[in-house]
Amino acid sequence: MQVTITVNGVDQVRDVDPRTLLVHFLREELDLTGTKIGCDTSQCGACTVHLDGKVLKSCTLLAVQADGAAITTIEGLAENGEHHPMQTAFWENHGLQCGYCTPGMIMASAAFVRDNPGASEGEIRHYLEGNICRCTGYHNIVKAVKQVADAAAGA
């Protein structure tokens, strides 16, 4: 089946087997391998992207369901060659170690702070239940997200 999906601002027209998961479409068809697969069961959030601006676990959607939608992946988050503030905050606060959960973590957190500027530490920790990290113990991730949330509230 033919689909047209706008990925990081570029229209991608492809013929896909309907059973193709969106995450496989991104990784295999478009070679956008920044979006990861971590759990198979929609728990870990490594595959998080934005669909029409909304946070989505791309392992739990068929590519055909995304036909006509606009997807942003980690590769498309930076603007004009500048890191997104959430990318910068993760770097500055040591919010990552092995980096595998990081793209999903950043995509989820970026949308969260956009919608919840000034979020509290408790709200951030609660929100992150959909994103699992095995390395950092979350401490520095929470710190990074809080930094951006505080900045967003101040702006």
Partner: protein, 783 residues
């Protein structure tokens, strides 16, 4: 003088590629013409294979081949066990890459399918018809070692793979017989799933013309993988190139060489095309090694006034269906030798029995043997305190080894390098406000609220380790590391290392060591690792050893280069060598500071070699092999404060204080990150993680729906402190810190919960402390 780079919490040099999604992990690498491998896996924990019919699968769209053990024949040797512990009557049953006639755990590979697409490979794998004759299964290691348990390997009598008991049992018994107090507990160190967020993956590409095999795989130790893949395929080691690209965490689970890596290699050799396999999380939970799995019978002897006299145990350690690469060393060498901990305990005894079961193979998981030792010690210290009616902090204080700077021999046979356990202990107690807490606890109790505190003092053995010791304890490899420090003509640095970091931030930490030694800007230093063809030999990243061992190799290589630079600089400036002063990457002549040569200028001149001192070779590159003279022994004290909701059994972790001493910290932010992550992993063992198999050996915790991975909302912000006690034998004094958090935190939180529950009469609960178990224990204690 600028801020010293050593000790500075700079941003990680790894991160730009990771925060943008540009890093390439194994599954991200694409090769044209690649075939995808799916593995047909046993649905039974123990069964004979009656027949395999792959005819339907072979005819399916896109399927190139289906192979079984019979097809492989002698094309692949069995996977070796590489830690052959001595004096233990060790048996090493054959571990074929695909099961031969019998499966021994759910997930054991039975056949492989190779197809042009991963979806179609799975379709065909589902269509391979395997007939099994199911056999009784056994999961509990103590039960598996008992009478009448089903025999898993014909050549492992009674399922006992080894019995390790190196200490003097009579002497231990004498101590216990004479002691005022003996406390005991049966401790269950439940199985855990390492759960690196990146599952395992492997892609092999064999070039028939050159007979070279390249294997990309998720490895913590590509040089060990090369060695084993060469051994099992029969290819010469110099024809095998193993590349660990970006690796998404390991925690020990990417040390072993697994059947899957051997199978993609064999299939690529057989078919002459690249072959790729990527593990699903479901597979990961079934087949990638599990951690822990001890049933421990532990006793501690003490005097009435709280002096700890001895500790002894009998440990049944579950090995699973096969002996994984390093498995025998974990519940033995890395466990029993740690029974003294930070205390003045004069008598230890450990009998560790390695038992084959129908679970997934176990092996090193973060801490590997040492968490299991620390837990039992700390648990028993609290039991002693309760038994004699002394505050557990007082018991610990009374038994801590006093500060020492250079060597302390303990009864378990180790020589600790340096430590000041009382300093870390008192610092942590101060941060926690121990006395105040005890008062709060009392008033909360009056309101019907149950608060508890747990305090753990620990030391551990890491930075593995002297190769002579490795040999003596049967480790089938060395434990040194090597590094090549290469400075280009333009003064940029490549540090090639044999170790293989996978999230630890070593590209940053190691660059900081070099920058500190030689004065190069840290941004001019690239640390290169993971490719056996590009990098010098090394034994890998595990056992908190990369900073201590590779770091030492790099410090020494840096010093060699600096020595060369000093001589060359003196020569170039026509000064006496003894008049050369070095500061911040610049060599100058004493008394005439205008006359100076930067390290970059010296490097260029060494490359040009236009004007070398007599006898000096050109070039600016040094290699260093470093074999540590001893292990390093980080230590510290962790404290947890919890509240238990007696109505539901829920546990609220309110505060977590960690004071760790890993010597001088090269990058405090990276050290803190290691502790944060380690603590969460250890706390999760206490509170929520645990593998559950049913009586037939079916995995009930087969996904993150059932296996409880710790989440952000379970934790407070951590309160970290440090003391700094350099290792006397290390060139820059550092100790490892990758595992301390995991080692210390499990007993800390466990003891805090049991402290909270003490007024209710609860004395023991098997981990993990789920709300249902806590609630059940409260009901049992009340009835």
């Amino acid at each position: 003088m600028t801020t010293r780079i050593f000790g500075s919490g700079i941003k990680r040099r790894e991160d730009p590629r990771l925060i943008t999604g540009e890093a390439r992990y194994t599954d991200d690498i694409k090769l044209p013409g690649v075939l995808h491998m799916a593995v047909v896996r046993s649905p039974y924990a123990h069964a004979n294979i009656v027949s395999i019919d792959s005819s339907v699968a072979e005819a399916m769209d896109g399927v190139v081949a289906v192979y079984t053990s019979e097809d492989i024949g002698d094309g692949l040797a069995g996977l070796p066990t590489a830690w052959l512990i001595p004096d233990s009557d060790l048996k090493t049953p054959e571990h074929p890459a695909l099961a031969k006639g019998k499966v021994r755990y759910v997930g054991d590979g039975v056949a492989i399918v190779l197809a042009d697409d991963r979806y179609r490979a799975q379709d065909a794998a589902d269509a391979v018809l395997v007939e099994y004759e199911e056999l009784p299964a056994v999961i509990d290691p103590e039960e598996a070692a008992g009478e009448g348990a089903p025999l898993i390997h014909d050549d492992v009598e009674g399922n006992i793979a080894f019995t390790w008991a190196p200490f003097d049992e009579d002497a231990s018994n004498a101590v216990f017989d004479a002691a005022d107090v003996v406390v005991s507990e049966r401790i269950l160190q439940q199985r855990l799933l390492p759960t690196a967020m990146e599952t395992r993956a492997a892609m092999a590409q064999y070039n028939p013309a050159t007979q070279e095999l390249t294997l990309w795989c998720t490895s913590q130790n590509p040089h060990i993988h090369r060695f084993i893949i060469s051994a099992v395929t029969g290819l010469n080691e110099n024809k095998v190139r193993v590349i660990a690209p970006e690796v998404g965490g390991g925690f020990g689970s990417k040390i072993p060489c697994y059947p899957d890596e051997a199978l993609v290699s064999w299939a690529s050799i057989k078919l002459g095309v690249p072959v790729k396999w990527t593990e699903t999380r479901s597979e990961n939970y079934l087949i990638t090694i599990h951690g822990r799995d001890h049933v421990q019978h532990v006793e501690m002897a003490a005097s009435n006034d709280g002096k700890i006299l001895g500790v002894r145990s009998t440990v049944y350690a579950g090995m699973g269906g096969y002996l994984s690469t390093a498995a025998p060393g974990i519940p033995t060498i890395l466990h029993g030798l740690l029974y003294v901990g930070p205390y003045t305990i004069d008598s230890v005894y450990c009998k560790s029995i390695g038992v084959m079961t129908n679970g997934a193979p176990t092996d090193a998981y973060r801490g590997a043997g040492r968490p299991e030792a620390t837990f039992l010690l700390e648990r028993m210290v609290d039991n002693v305190a309760r038994e004699i009616g002394m505050d557990p902090v007082e018991v610990r204080r009374k038994n801590l080894i006093p500060a020492f700077e250079n060597g302390y021999d303990v009864a378990a046979g180790l020589t600790y390098d340096s430590g000041d356990y009382p300093a870390a202990f008192e610092k942590a107690l101060g941060m926690a406000g121990y006395g105040d807490f005890r008062r709060q606890q009392k008033s909360a109790k009056a309101e019907g609220r149950y608060l508890g505190i747990g305090v753990t003092a620990y030391t551990e053995m890491c930075g593995l380790g002297p190769s002579q010791v490795a040999g003596a304890v049967g480790f089938q490899g060395g434990l040194w590391e090597s590094a090549t420090l290469r400075v280009t003509p333009t003064g940029k640095v490549q540090a090639l290392i044999g170790a293989s970091p996978h999230g630890q931030g070593s590209e940053t930490t190691l660059a900081q060591i070099i920058a500190d030694e030689l004065g190069f800007p840290v941004d001019d230093i690239e640390v290169i690792h993971g490719d056996t063809t590009e990098t010098p030999m090394g034994w890998g990243t595990y056992g908190s050893r990369t900073t201590p061992v590779t770091g030492a190799a790099l410090a020494q290589a840096s010093r060699k280069l600096k020595d060369k630079a000093r001589v060359l600089a003196a020569h170039l400036m026509e000064a006496n060598e003894e008049d050369i002063e070095y500061a911040d990457g610049s060599f100058s002549v004493k008394g005439s500071p205008d006359q100076a040569q930067s390290i970059q200028e010296v490097a260029l001149m060494a490359h040009l070699a236009w004007n070398m001192p007599e006898g000096m070779d050109p070039g600016f590159e040094e290699s260093q092999f470093y074999d540590p003279p001893n292990f390093v022994y980080p230590f510290g004290t962790h404290i947890a404060i919890v509240e238990v909701d007696a109505e539901t059994g829920e546990i609220d972790l309110q505060r977590y204080i960690a004071v760790d001493d890993c010597g001088p910290q090269i990058n405090p932010e990276i050290v803190a990150g290691q502790i944060h992550g380690g603590v969460v992993q250890g706390v999760a063992q206490a509170l929520c993680e645990g593998v559950v198999y049913d009586e037939n050996g079916q995995l009930l915790t087969g996904s993150m729906m059932d296996y409880c991975m710790p989440k952000a909302d379970m934790f407070p912000n951590f309160e970290l402190g440090e003391t700094v006690t350099p290792s006397p034998h290390h060139p820059v004094g550092v100790k490892g810190v990758g595992e301390t958090g995991t080692i210390a935190s499990t007993p800390t939180v466990y003891n805090a919960v049991l402290d909270a529950l003490a007024p209710l009469g609860v004395k023991q609960i098997d981990m993990p402390l789920t709300s249902a178990k806590v609630w059940g224990a409260i009901q049992d204690a009340r009835s």
